[in-house]
């Protein structure tokens, strides 16, 4: 079954998401943005433009650039609200034959006559772009969608939105309320009789909804809207305007120049206001710095204003108060008291403002929830609804993860991880290990579980022996160790000698038998002992390298005894003894220094061998191995 696209068709911006691998995921548009401006235009060259591109040319083409069409969809032309909104938009509108609305955008080819569109056709152009961009991203055709609408939308508005989908080539599987989508995104449909408030302070509109999850049969509840209220002309844009006005007034006080009529200065003020607002969400003050904002007879003028969070809150206070008054009204209209509300969800980027969160928290007496990105939460909810309708959500397998790392004990008692913790199961991982001594014919595989660096500090799950390895110098045999954890958490460890394919395995059922407390304790232990573990690990590694170097040195001496000058031989033997002495001590620095000394001396062997062979590297010359065994498994006792 093809994917169902979840679409948040917003007044100012739209977003889309889809279920992938059981998780909702926002889909970026073709410009690489996670939201798309809900703007459509017919350019001067009769090109159809949607989104950011349409917005970029709005100044030069205001009559043919249509935005905020959501305010008009499903309405009749004569409605008071329509008439009020009509007065502030630059594009032409007229009454359609059926009493509805039509907007003009572009001209008929070769004539001066305008082309008139119904609002649903304009919305369809936005949906069409989202559909096309999603198809490009996902590499598959999208034919079905879930589209969100405000909870207060009436039947006509919902039907018109559905038609917009149809025009865009989408079968609208369901129209859902924006607050319902937000609640779905938080998984609140699973909680019995939950009472949820969705506080949605968008770019240009404010909506508040009181929801109740009513459990029907099974585990899925239906989310019902108990009351809804809002203000179609209250949003982040009002706060931005307030900041811009304040900045401009501050500048005017100092310079006597009003920069608000200068398009470039205005653009820079817009950007600076937005930046200041974002910065003041985390910092308590910020500096608005716009060099060369304008110039007069005295030369260039610069704007440099310090803005505090307190100032921003003072500027935003009237809008927050208005939103809160509407919230109170919605609560009063609902069958619940403020104390009955279990969750408050924040929607809309503006809710990142700490003052807004504080106001909501103060009123409801609980911290509002905004763990899902407030700009994307509605589209995510729509995708989840799509997943439920398409069966993807219900059929999602609950995949488990392994709570603690699994590995084997290697040379020096080090715990070498084969499967890291939090790896999703079922899974299988392999690693090649080798022997730690010459002619070692068997290896012991000791399986450990935990995050500590040394095997002895972790939980031992079991051990087995793989024998019959043909005698060979250390590091040469290749033993492939495979860890396989099935969906039930049962671990099978297999060791195979790659030379003769001889293998041995063990099945461990209790690997996931640890209690939550055990797992937590083991993780805490690992954290608490991180420093000492690191030291132990370093010591073990230094010893391993020391042993490898001694081995190489002895081998070099015996292989090239005829070619090595006696003096160098004595020197190397002395260095070997020096490493032997410090190797079993606890001083990592001393072990490393002695090993380093020996390594340096060993490099002289290569030169001596070359010299003895008349400058040509001989066949049996020996260099310290560049890649020793990655981790030799425990030596057999």
């Amino acid at each position: 079954m093809a994917k169902i696209l979840g679409i948040d068709l917003g007044t100012t911006n739209s977003a889309m998401a889809v279920m992938r691998g059981g998780e909702p995921q926002i889909i970026e548009n073709s410009e690489g943005a996670r939201t798309t401006p809900s703007v459509v235009a017919t350019s001067k060259t009769s090109e159809r433009l949607v989104g950011l591109i349409a917005r970029r040319q709005a100044v030069t083409n205001p009559k043919n650039t249509v935005y905020q069409i959501k305010r008009f969809i499903g309405h009749m032309f004569d409605e008071a609200n329509v008439q009020k909104d009509k007065a502030v938009v630059p594009f032409e509108m007229r009454k359609a034959q059926n009493g509805g609305i039509e907007v003009q955008m572009g001209l008929k080819a070769g004539s001066d006559q305008g082309v008139w569109y119904r609002p649903e056709e304009i919305s369809a152009m936005i949906l069409q772009k989202l559909k096309t961009d999603a198809e490009k991203r996902l590499g598959e055709t999208i034919t079905e969608a879930v589209i969100t609408v405000p909870a207060y939308f009436n039947d006509a508005q919902r039907a018109a939105t559905r038609d917009a989908g149809k025009i865009a080539g989408l079968e609208v599987k369901r129209i859902i309320n924006e607050p319902t989508a937000a609640a779905l995104a938080y998984g609140f449909n699973k909680k019995k009789d939950e009472k949820v408030v969705v506080f949605d302070f968008g770019g240009g509109t404010f909506d508040i909804s009181v929801l109740e999850v009513v459990m029907a049969s099974g585990e899925e509840g239906s989310i019902e809207v108990r009351s809804t209220d809002g203000d179609a002309h209250l949003g982040g844009k009002d706060i931005d305007q307030k900041i811009i006005d304040w900045l401009a007034a501050e500048f005017q006080k100092e310079s006597g120049i009003d920069v608000r009529n200068d398009a470039l200065a205005r653009q820079r003020l817009d950007e600076a206001a937005e930046k200041a607002k974002i910065e003041l969400s985390t910092a308590v003050d910020t500096e608005v710095n716009i060099p060369f904002i304008t110039s007069d007879s005295s030369g260039p003028r610069h704007l440099l204003v310090k803005m505090t969070r307190a100032k921003l809150e003072e500027l935003a206070a009237e809008f927050i108060d208005r939103a809160l008054a509407i919230t109170k009204r919605a609560m009063e209209a609902s069958p619940f008291k403020v104390g009955d509300i279990q969750e408050v969800i924040l929607v809309g980027g503006q809710t990142r403002m700490p003052a807004m969160q504080a106001a909501v928290e103060k009123y409801f007496g609980k911290k509002p929830n905004m763990s899902v990105n407030p700009d994307e939460v509605v589209a995510i909810g729509a995708a989840i609804q799509g997943g439920i309708l398409g069966g993807e959500v219900r059929d999602v397998l609950l995949l488990d993860v392994i709570p603690l790392s699994l590995g084997i004990e290697t040379m020096g008692g080090v715990a070498t991880k084969v499967i890291e913790r939090n790896t999703t199961i079922p899974t299988s991982r392999s690693q090649i290990f080798s022997t730690a001594a010459d002619n070692q014919t068997s290896v012991e595989i000791h399986i450990t579980q935990g995050e500590r660096a040394m095997a002895s500090d972790n939980k031992s799950l079991g051990r087995f022996v793989l024998d019959g390895i043909p005698p060979a110098p250390r590091g040469l045999p290749q033993v492939e160790v495979t860890f396989d954890v099935d969906a039930n958490g049962i671990l099978t460890v297999k060791a195979k000698d790659k030379a003769n394919n001889k293998e041995q395995s063990i099945r461990i059922e209790g690997s996931s038998g640890l209690s939550e407390q055990d797992i937590e304790r083991m993780r805490k232990d690992a954290d608490a002992n991180a420093t000492t573990d690191k030291q132990k690990m370093e010591l073990a590694e230094a010893r391993n390298i020391a042993e490898q170097t001694i081995y190489s040195a002895n081998k070099s001496l015996s292989d090239n005894k005829d070619k090595i000058p006696a003096e160098l031989g004595t020197e190397i033997s002395g260095k070997i003894s020096a490493v032997e002495v410090v190797k079993n001590g606890d001083d990592v620095a001393k072990i490393k220094a002695a090993t380093e000394d020996l390594s340096k001396e060993l490099s002289k062997v290569y030169e001596a061998v070359q010299k003895a062979s008349g400058g040509q590297p001989g066949n049996n010359e020996e260099r310290p191995p560049e890649n020793g065994p990655a981790s030799g498994v425990d030596e057999q006792k």
């Binding site: 691998g21 690489g32 970029r56 040319q57 030069t60």
Partner: protein, 171 residues
């Protein structure tokens, strides 16, 4: 999924009598098993497809990652470059021009294109109109009259469109 369940389902042939009712029951079981197999196969194929798509997208993303990283660095530097350009408009000194050139050379090395030209046809894919001014000839209509702030792009990705004043010819 576990072995025990399978064992419960399995009844040795010799222990049962093949009555029509029993066969009917078996048929029902087979039907259910096929149904379940189909569902599991579908789920498995879907997961495989999701993973294949994810890998494809990841590969694509890693190609774009460098571009994105560069774009995000330059995004923060753009306001500084804007101010520098404005400073240049007010006071052109040899030193300032040299520093500006140094900036642009550094951008070029990062494959970042710096653009915006008076006389270009206004194309919203590359330009953003800040204002419109009347022009005297029809040739200047819908063309860039002045570049207020330069545009920056990397490959096909526009980091910021050039912000311009556009000409409008009134017949």
């Amino acid at each position: 999924m576990s072995g025990e369940n399978l064992d419960e389902e399995f009844i040795p042939e010799e222990e049962v009598e093949m009555t029509p009712a029993f066969i009917k029951g078996l048929r029902e079981k087979v039907r259910k098993a096929i149904e379940e197999k189909q569902k599991n196969l579908d789920g498995w194929q879907r997961t495989q497809a999701d993973f294949a798509n994810f890998k494809r997208e990841e590969a694509l993303m890693s190609e774009h990652r460098e571009v994105r990283a560069k774009a995000s660095i330059i995004e923060d530097l753009i306001p500084v470059l804007d101010s520098f350009e404005m400073a240049l408009k007010h006071a052109q000194t040899k030193e300032m021009n040299l520093v500006h050139k140094q900036f642009l050379d550094a951008l070029r090395k990062m494959d970042i294109t710096y653009y915006g030209k008076k006389g270009d046809v206004f194309n919203p894919h590359k330009y953003e109109a800040l204002r419109e001014v009347p022009v005297e000839t029809p040739e200047e209509d819908n063309c860039v009259v002045s570049v207020e702030r330069s545009g920056y792009s990397i490959g096909e990705h526009i980091i910021r469109p050039a912000q311009v004043t556009v000409g409008a010819y009134q017949k």
